[in-house]
Symmetry: C2
Subunit: 180 residues, 2 copies
């Protein structure tokens, strides 16, 4: 991220009445919006390109009620927007706003920490990322390891490792079977 | 962070039985350890250099019971260790392990996002950081904006902005007064 002067952006409730929270700490403020595991894994799915309620539900394991309430909260806070893809019945796709897309570095940092500290040596990486702009391995920081550019949403291409692809496909099938 | 080959490290329960969690996703795994706002703000305090239970309690606003249980969980998981500084009565200081210190990039990413999206233009930065190795402004990424080196725990010096320093001092005084 660049100059702090250009950094302050326009969220939703995020910009209103932040002083009520009683702290200038950006960590505490961020945690009032996304300080729970469900919000974080929902943002992961959206950053990975999921838009459908059912796909997010299948991959996060959230109940429909849980997912509805979190998506609503994320929408109210300005990280998520929805768009109707069907009018009868009324159905929505979910997308990240700029505020939600800017959460990417947090997810990348959690990915780096989780890969380093929450896996055994025998387990494969979940995702292999490619930095589209240089076609190189972006590594685990906020700048591309291969070309040095800041990693942004839309400039990363992810390929699940075979084991992680199987895991996701299994969850997808189990979810579909549970709805038959 | 560097080569993935050198990344996998030794946590506590973190290395045991991760397969039971049923996913290779490092985000989900990280969230089982630190997927709540209390753990994150406790890690923030420890990364800022707090060691005493009372100081962490004063600055996070956690109840003693809450703080005790989170510190115990973080300790069991391998992010925190404690060391007795008094034998009678038995009292402990709390420190980060390497696993806990490695959480720094997540906190820095949350800081960047929170400063960008959870503040009005009129509000000051909470902390001004200096990269000790180059004496420059490290910026908001995982590499120092001034010298390009990876930002590590111990290489950053933080100075609260006047408003944030006042806020912290006020909490410290209120906490002390509440215990008289």
């Amino acid at each position: 991220m660049e100059n702090i002067g250009t950094m302050r952006k326009k969220g939703n409730i995020c910009m209103k009445a932040w002083s009520d929270i009683g702290t200038l700490c950006p960590i505490t403020r961020s945690q009032t919006l996304v300080g729970d595991r469900w919000s974080v894994v929902i943002l992961r799915e959206l950053l990975m390109g999921a838009h459908r309620f059912e796909e997010i539900q299948a991959q996060t394991g959230a109940t429909p009620q849980m997912l509805t309430s979190r998506l609503k909260k994320l929408q109210t806070q300005g990280l998520v927007k929805r768009k109707a893809y069907s009018k009868r019945p009324l159905r929505y796709d979910y997308f990240l706003t700029n505020m939600g897309r800017d959460f990417l570095p947090v997810i990348l940092a959690l990915r780096a920490w989780g890969e380093a500290w929450c896996k055994s040596k025998r387990e494969p990486l979940a995702m292999h990322l490619t930095h589209i702009l240089c076609d190189g391995d972006p590594g685990f920081g906020t700048l591309c390891k291969s070309c040095g550019e800041t990693l942004r949403y839309g400039d990363l291409k992810g390929k699940p490792s075979p084991a992680y692809a199987r895991e996701r496909e299994k969850r997808r099938s189990a979810f579909k079977a549970s709805r038959l």
